[in-house]
Symmetry: C2
Subunit: 405 residues, 2 copies
C-alpha cells in the first residue's frame, strides 16, 4: 500500500480540508491517506475548539485513513520545530509522499528554493541575526532574510504563510534525506471553485471566528463544513458544555501567573528576554486574555508567539522539557488517534518496521514525552465541569477511534 | 501604655471573641489590646470566610486597638511554628503579656507544665519519634508523649486542643526568655454564661458551618456575633460576591495539581513521604475538595494537615520558602492591618524600639517573606470575578484600617 501524509490542525475540519484530501489522493496516487494532526493545543497557540478525538472522527469520515497526533512538544512551536515533528512522525509510519497546500502550488519551486537556500544559508542566518538584534519579530526577520537571498521571487515567495510552512516541511525532508516526495497543491479560492464541490469554501479563520462569536452553527456556516464536522461540533458542545476558546482559560491562567515567581515564569518555554516581568506587571490590569496579550505585545513579539507562550504557562511546560524534542533526530513515539479499516491494515504492515513505539493511548505514561501529553490534556479539559473532566480525560486511556466506511 | 497581646483568627469575629477581649483587658490590666491575626488563610488550612481587612474592622470595633497580621509562613502551620510567629510578632511590638483561652484556665499550670517538660523533653521526643514511626498522626503522637511524661494531669491536660495551643505559646515565651507574662482565661460555655453578655455564645465552628451552609445570616445566627461582624460579613459578600470556602478553590487546585509533576508536588511544603503520588492518583476521582481530602486521608495524616498542605499547593509555597521562618530567631517584619487612635499612639511610642520593619502595606514587596504574602493574597482572591480581584488585591497597597471610636 502506498501512503501519503498530510500535516493539519483540522480546527475544525471544513470543506477546504475535504478538497485537499481529494486532491492529495489524486496527486500522490496513494491509497492510504495519513494525517498528522495537532492535539488539543494548536500551532498558533490556541486551544482547539473541540478536542482531538472529535476532530479525528470528522477527518476519518472525510477520507483520512489514519490520524496521528503531533506531540505537544512539536505542535505548539514555530514552523521549523512543528515541521520536524510532523515530517518525522509521517516518516516513522513510512509515507512515500507528503502533500501540503501552498500559494506556489509547484513542488519544484520548493526544491529549487531549498537548493538556493543551502548555498546561501550563511548569509540568511547573518541577516536573520541582525534583524532579531534590532528587535524585529522572528517571522518578519525571516521574511527579510529570505528576500535578501532571493527567495521572494514571484513563484516561490517565502513571504507567504503557506509557502513558509511548506518550505519548512521540504527543509525537514531534504535536510534528513528522508525517502519522502514533497508534493504541493495550490491554495487559492478560484482553484477551489474549479471543483464540483458541494457546499462553499470558507477560510478556517472565518469559520472559527463565526463559530465562537455565535456559539451556534447557522445554516450558512454549516454549508462550509462536511455534515460530520457539524455533527461533531454539536455533539462535543452538547456533551462537554463548551467550545474551547482562550477566554475560558483566562481565570486559571491568571491565577497561575499570580502565584508564580518571576524566576519560575522565566523557566517556562517561550518566556524569554525578561518577558516574565511584563507578564507579571500586566496581569492585574488585564480584563481578558486578549487584553492581556495586547498589553504584553511589542514589535518584537508576534501575537502568535505570545499565545504559544501562554499555552506553555497553562500546561506548565518548561524550557528543559523541550530539550529532547529539539535535540533528538526524530520523534520518540507515534500516537495513533484513529483509523479506518484501510488505515488499520496499512499500520499492521508497517508496525514491525517502525523505529519508535506506536502508542494508542496514555495508559502507560512513563516517558517524559508522555507526561507532557498528559499535562496538555489535563490543562485543556480543566475548564469543563468536574465530572466532565474525568469523562473526557478518560478517552485518553481508551483505544483509538475506529471508523468503518 | 501597657499592652496585652491576643493570638486569633477571627473567622468570623463572634461574641466569644468579644468576651475574651473584655476578660483579657481586665486580667492583664493593659490599656492597649493587640491582636496578631491570621491573614487570608488559617491555621487549620482553610481560606478565611471574609478577608483580613473586613475581619480587622470587626475586631477593632470590639475592643482591639491594633491588628497585626501573622505572616503566611507562620499562619498555615502546626502549633509550634504558629506560636513562634505569633509570640515573636507580639514581642516585636512590646506587649507585656499574652492572654490566651484554655481549658485549664490557670497560667501557673502552664508554667509548671513547661518546667516538667524541659526536664523530660528527651523522653517526650523519644516517644514522639517512636509513635510517628508507627504511623501515628502528629497530634495523636504528641498527645501520647505528653501523657507519658505526665502532662495529661487533670488540671493541665495537654490532650485538650486549647491547652495544646496555649502550651505552645508558653514554650515560645519561656524558651526565648521573652519579657512577656503568659495569662490565660478559662474557656467553658458555663463560664461564658456567668457574664451579663448580650447575645448568645456559639462556637466558631458551628457559626462557620451555618454561615457557609445557609449562605445568609438568619436572626439566630446574627445573635451570636457583634453587629459589626454581621455588617462586615454582609458587606464583604455584597462587594466580592462570595464567602470564601474551600470548594470555590477546587477547580483551580485540581488544575494546578494536574499540571504539576510528582517532583514539583514533592517540593511543596507539607507534601511529604510520598503524598505527591496519593494526591495525583486521587485527583481524577475527586468530586469535591472534601471528597479529595477524604480520599487522601489515612491515620497518619490528620484532616487539618492535609488541608494545610492543599493551601500550600494553592499558594505555590515550597519547602525552601519556609526555611527563613523556621530558622530565623524572630519574625522578619510586622504587618499592620489596622488600629484605633489608642493603637496609633501606642505604636508611635514603640516604633523606634522595634528590631524589624513595621510594614503597613505590600507596596514594596522586596523581601521573599513579602512574596509569600503577595502569593497568598493572589491565591485567596483568585476565585473572585476578574475586576473584583483587582479591587480587593489593591487594598493590600493602601494604608491600614483606621477605626475611630
Amino acid at each position: 500500500m502506498k501512503a501519503c501524509g498530510l500535516i493539519v490542525e483540522y480546527n475544525p475540519f471544513h470543506n477546504g480540508h475535504a478538497y485537499h484530501i481529494q486532491e492529495s489522493k489524486k496527486t500522490s496516487g496513494a491509497n492510504c491517506m495519513i494525517a498528522v494532526m495537532s492535539g488539543n493545543f494548536l500551532q498558533r497557540g490556541e486551544p482547539a475548539i473541540i478536542d482531538k478525538f472529535y476532530r479525528t472522527r470528522a477527518a476519518l469520515s472525510a477520507g483520512i485513513d489514519i490520524v496521528l497526533e503531533l506531540p505537544y512538544a512539536y505542535a505548539v512551536q514555530s514552523s521549523d520545530l512543528f515541521a520536524k515533528g510532523s515530517v518525522h512522525t509521517l516518516n516513522e509510519v513510512g509515507v512515500s509522499s507528503i502533500c501540503f497546500g501552498s500559494e506556489s502550488g509547484d513542488e519544484s519551486h520548493f526544491i529549487e528554493g531549498y537548493q538556493l537556500y543551502t548555498i546561501r544559508e550563511k548569509v540568511f542566518k547573518k541577516i536573520l541575526k541582525e534583524q532579531l538584534a534590532k528587535g524585529t519579530s522572528f517571522p518578519e526577520a525571516s521574511r527579510i532574510a529570505y528576500q535578501e537571498i532571493g527567495l521572494a521571487a514571484s513563484e516561490m515567495d517565502l513571504t507567504r504563510p503557506n509557502n513558509i510552512l511548506g518550505f519548512s516541511y521540504v527543509k525537514a525532508i531534504l535536510n534528513n534525506n528522508l525517502p519522502i516526495d514533497p508534493l504541493t497543491i495550490k491554495r487559492t479560492k478560484s482553484n477551489y471553485h474549479d471543483q464540483s464541490f458541494s457546499g462553499s469554501i470558507a477560510s478556517a479563520t472565518s469559520i472559527r471566528k463565526e463559530l465562537l462569536a455565535e456559539g451556534t452553527i447557522n445554516p450558512d456556516l454549516a454549508d462550509t463544513m462536511p455534515a460530520e464536522t457539524v455533527s461533531q461540533l454539536k455533539s462535543y458542545k452538547q456533551r462537554s458544555g463548551v467550545w474551547h476558546a482562550w477566554e475560558l482559560y483566562f481565570p486559571i491562567l491568571k491565577y497561575r501567573v499570580k502565584t508564580m515567581s518571576a524566576n519560575e515564569l522565566a523557566a517556562i518555554h517561550g518566556v524569554d528576554e525578561g518577558l516574565e516581568n511584563r507578564i507579571k506587571k500586566t496581569a492585574d490590569e488585564a480584563n481578558s486574555f486578549t487584553d492581556w496579550v495586547g498589553r504584553i505585545k511589542t514589535k518584537r513579539y508576534t501575537w502568535t508567539r505570545l499565545q504559544r507562550m501562554f499555552v506553555h504557562i497553562l500546561t506548565n511546560t518548561k524550557k528543559t522539557d523541550l530539550e529532547a524534542a529539539k535535540n533528538n533526530p526524530s520523534v520518540s513515539f507515534v500516537r495513533l488517534l484513529g483509523m479506518t479499516e484501510t488505515g488499520q491494515s496499512y499500520l499492521s504492515s508497517q508496525k514491525k518496521k517502525m523505529n519508535v513505539p506506536l502508542i494508542s493511548n496514555l495508559n502507560k505514561s512513563t516517558s517524559p514525552m508522555l507526561y507532557m501529553e498528559e499535562r496538555a490534556t489535563n490543562a485543556y479539559y480543566s475548564v469543563l465541569e468536574n465530572d466532565m473532566q474525568k469523562t473526557f480525560h478518560d478517552r485518553e486511556l481508551e483505544p483509538p477511534v475506529i471508523f468503518n466506511t
